[in-house]
């Protein structure tokens, strides 16, 4: 330990050795290790996207071969979904903030937490190894029998990589569940918890309940691939649609694993930057749980045209409409929170506004796709691609970046350049819309997804989309630069730069190794802005 006064010892400077990082059980350090990992995965996934967006700027296939193109979008999907979107908010921000937000010294199982990072890195390593040794061309959905019998790429290793990564997600979810149940500081009742914690709880439920089904699904795929036994093989009487059911039993709720934590971040940000308790707190909290639970009953809307029974299709369609209601409730409540509040235009709030706009488009186009009669035309077209990018990139990524900017002073103890942060928020918003809005039109015109060459009349829209992607790319690179810059040159951050009311803002930036020096006793709800607020309703 360095010769410093006790007041300035924090979790970052208490030990500088590599070993102290690789063997750390401190949730804050593990959060940072996840941050580094997902940033690398995001860059890899982003490079893939840049390459195939470049390819798609002409109608003919000319930049890369069809085979390479298929490998590019597959790897883009696998890396972005399993190694960026799913871990980004929960494993980076959740790990760092959750124990602080509930007044705990750490998560319930710190060693498991570290283990989950290693499991994640091993799974990611195997998957990237596949990329280097020939690639994978099944699409991130691994549909059988193409993946089990016909693909000539290394599906086996990729399935093993995804299988292993699943356990990292399970361990994180399990850890958070127990942490939220058992580690809250005295006085931190459920209805006093910050909404980010509620969202993480709902997310963890899905991680624990759904991920094992993905694990067994890709395990069966791996076994079938490795030994040639029949599990999903139609030649033996097996049912390829069974694979789709099992896959989407996880992968649809997985969308909520991605978006729920981001929604939680947005709730925190809206409260802080409007200095206002979230309007209808209990409805926003309950809607997280409702989304998590109803989200388990809607997976069949990915199978409307898979020869699934018409009746099953109707049930899944109906339930898909239901899940839109709690999402709508959240949006209305965030908007209402801004009414007669004190809105700060600091950069995290810009991300909130961006999130609101993009999430609205993403959510409402989801309603379009849940409509049986419309999905027939739009299924597997660019309309679907645009829709889920609005949710996953527009929604999840805006929430993640907003949260990262919000907690960055707490994580690093430094302030970043506010001006540059505003520029990047604006670029991301504009670039994103330019990239994906044309894809809605392409989709309705009938351009199928995963197409490497397309009819020439669609080139204009594709060029627009590719142009937007370059703006988006710049928008993502700028934060990397100014955030890194802030580590050395940024102004030291005060304990509470934004005037937030969460417990994490009551301690030093960056926090001390054990978070709270004095025992924490909570006496008021989250977001207690203003004295004895005169509320109604």
């Amino acid at each position: 330990m360095k010769e410093e006064s006790a007041a300035t010892v924090n979790y970052l400077n208490c030990d500088y050795s590599i070993r102290s990082w690789l063997l750390t059980v401190d949730h804050k350090r593990i959060g940072i290790m996840y941050l580094l990992a997902v940033t690398v995965f995001f860059l890899i996934g982003g490079i893939m996207a840049t390459l195939f967006r470049f390819e798609l700027s002409t109608a003919a296939g000319d930049l890369v071969t069809a085979e390479t193109y298929n490998k590019l979008f597959t790897l883009h999907g696998v890396v972005m979904v399993f190694f960026f979107l799913i871990p980004s908010v929960p494993a980076v921000l959740g790990n760092f903030v959750l124990p602080l937000a509930i007044g705990a010294k750490d998560v319930a199982f710190p060693k498991l937490n570290l283990l989950s990072w290693y499991v994640f890195m091993i799974g990611g390593g195997i998957t990237l190894f596949v990329a280097l040794t020939g690639g994978l061309d099944t699409g991130w959905t691994f549909y059988t029998p193409y993946s089990s019998t016909y693909a000539t790429t290394d599906v086996l290793s990729a399935a093993i990589g995804v299988f292993i990564t699943g356990f990292s997600s399970i361990l994180t979810g399990l850890n958070f569940l127990v942490t939220i149940h058992k580690m809250r500081a005295p006085g931190m009742t459920w209805m006093r918890m910050p909404l980010f914690v509620w969202a993480l709880y709902a997310t963890s439920l899905i991680m624990v309940l759904a991920t094992p089904v993905l694990a067994i699904t890709v395990a069966l795929l791996a076994v079938e691939r490795a030994t040639g036994i029949g599990i999903f093989d139609p030649a033996l009487g097996g049912d390829p649609v069974l694979f789709q059911h099992m896959f989407w039993f996880y992968s649809h709720p997985a969308v909520y694993i991605m978006i729920l934590p981001s929604m939680g971040v947005i709730s925190e940000l809206v409260a802080t930057f409007c200095r206002r308790r979230i309007f209808g707190y209990s409805f926003v909290a309950a809607s997280s749980i409702a989304i998590a639970v109803i989200g388990f009953f809607v997976w069949g809307h990915h199978l409307f045209l898979s020869t699934q029974s018409v009746y099953a299709g109707m049930v899944f369609s109906f339930l898909s409409f239901l899940v839109a209601v709690p999402s709508a409730v959240k949006t209305f409540n965030w908007t209402a929170t801004m009414y007669k509040s004190s809105v700060s235009w600091q950069s995290p709030m810009l991300y909130v506004m961006g999130f609101m706009g993009l999430f609205l488009v993403g959510g409402l186009t989801g309603v379009v796709l849940a409509t049986l009669g419309l999905d027939v035309h739009m299924h597997d077209t660019y309309f679907v691609v645009a829709h889920f990018h609005y949710i996953m990139v527009g929604g999840v990524l805006m929430g993640y970046l907003g949260g990262l900017h919000y907690w960055w002073p707490k994580i690093t103890g430094r302030m970043y350049s506010e001006a540059w942060a505003k520029v990047s928020a604006l670029l991301v918003f504009v670039g994103f819309n330019l990239t994906f809005m044309p894809q809605f039109i392409l989709g309705y015109l009938g351009m199928p997804r995963r197409y490497y060459a397309y009819p020439p009349e669609w080139q204009t829209l594709n060029v627009l989309s590719s142009a937007g992607a370059s703006v988006l790319g710049v928008g993502y690179l700028i934060p990397v630069i100014y955030l890194l810059w802030s580590l050395r040159h940024g102004k030291p951050a005060p304990a509470n730069p934004w005037g937030g009311k969460g417990l994490e803002w009551t301690i030093a930036s960056p926090p001390t190794p054990h978070n709270f020096e004095k025992p924490v006793i909570v006496t008021e709800g989250a977001y207690a802005y203003g004295e004895g607020g005169h509320g109604h309703g």
């Binding site: 549909y143 016909y150 045209l305 018409v310 609101m356 995963r450 009349e457 203003g530 509320g535």
Partner: protein, 321 residues
């Protein structure tokens, strides 16, 4: 085909407008909410922007009535969309009884199409305006999906199973045919054209086409030759005491199985009985039929099915044995 600035694909089938109308309905509702909420967010952000650093706004806890209002209104809208969407869906997927069958086999990376009269096409489908067609589709290898944007219809093509799709073209023209389910390297090359012609042009086109196919003749005739070549007729000739159940006149009717249950004889049941004869044994017959798995291609199975469909029962055709 369509201009570079079109927002909608051509409407070339009876269902196209139904789908577009529903889409426009939901689209306008979506635009209303997106614009409305975004405008509110921007307005509030400007109107209530923080004037000085220690500003503390009035605290509002929430409002039960509002919560109910903005739960119930979306719910009602959702239910309207659900019922309307389901209605359109049923029209899209349930084939009218009088549709003419066309048989489609997807394989990496082409569409093989057979008409009952024996014509075969690859990656092209010629149909006349104003007639209903029902595609009966299967795959030889992986999943595919038959997609004609101008008809607003699409259906997955699954190995080991028949799926179907119907349409009635309303406008002459040449339209895109795509494979919409990712199927491997040349997925984006598994495309083709649907050529919709006037009945007169269609008749002209028909006469210019020699009935093709290796064995020539209508599908049912090719099937009949297969029926003999594979010796199906030795057991399924309908004589009393024959080893296999009679097939004539059974299509579309139900038969009683060994376990007492009933099953309707349709394309799927015939296919299953050829490939896995013991799976659903007709009552009163021994499980002696060998499997024909690996001996018949998907196209040959379809030819056998059309042949069996064409077999009229003895009474119906008025023949005497």
């Amino acid at each position: 085909m369509s201009s570079p600035f079109a927002l909608f694909p051509e409407r070339a089938s009876t269902m196209a407008w139904s789908v577009d109308a529903l889409f426009l309905f939901i689209l306008w509702i979506s635009i209303f909410f997106t614009v409305g909420i975004s405008a509110a967010v921007v307005y509030f952000a400007i109107k209530y922007r923080r004037k000085h650093d220690d500003e503390v706004p009035v605290q509002i806890e929430g409002h039960l009535g509002l919560e109910i209002l903005w739960s119930v209104i979306p719910l009602i809208l959702m239910m309207v969309m659900f019922f309307w969407g389901t209605k359109v869906f049923l029209q899209l997927v349930v084939s009218p009884a009088d549709a003419t069958p066309i048989y489609v086999v997807g394989k990496q990376w082409m569409w093989k199409i057979q008409h009952p009269d024996g014509r075969r096409e690859i990656n092209e489908l010629h149909v006349p305006v104003g007639e209903k067609f029902r595609l009966i589709m299967t795959s030889e290898d992986v999943l595919h999906s038959f997609f004609v944007p101008a008809f607003r219809t699409k259906m997955d093509v699954v190995p080991g199973r028949y799926s179907s799709l119907w349409f009635e073209a309303t406008r002459e023209g040449v339209y895109h045919l795509f494979c919409a389910e990712y199927c491997g390297t040349s997925h984006s090359g598994m495309t083709g054209r649907v050529v919709v012609m006037s009945p007169a042009d269609y008749a002209k086109w028909l006469s210019g086409q020699a009935p093709a196919g290796p064995a020539g003749g209508a599908m049912a005739d090719v099937g009949a030759q297969l029926f003999t070549a594979k010796a199906c007729n030795t057991c399924h000739d309908g004589r009393p005491g024959a080893l296999g159940p009679p097939l004539a006149g059974t299509f579309g009717h139900s038969v009683t199985l060994a376990d007492g249950s009933e099953v309707v004889v349709d394309e799927g049941y015939i296919r299953e009985s050829i490939l896995n004869p013991q799976a659903k044994l007709v009552r009163g017959f021994q499980p002696v039929m060998p499997t024909y798995k690996g001996q018949l291609s998907e196209e040959e199975i379809l030819q056998l099915i059309t042949h069996i469909k064409s077999l009229k029962s003895v009474e119906a055709s008025g023949e005497k044995p």
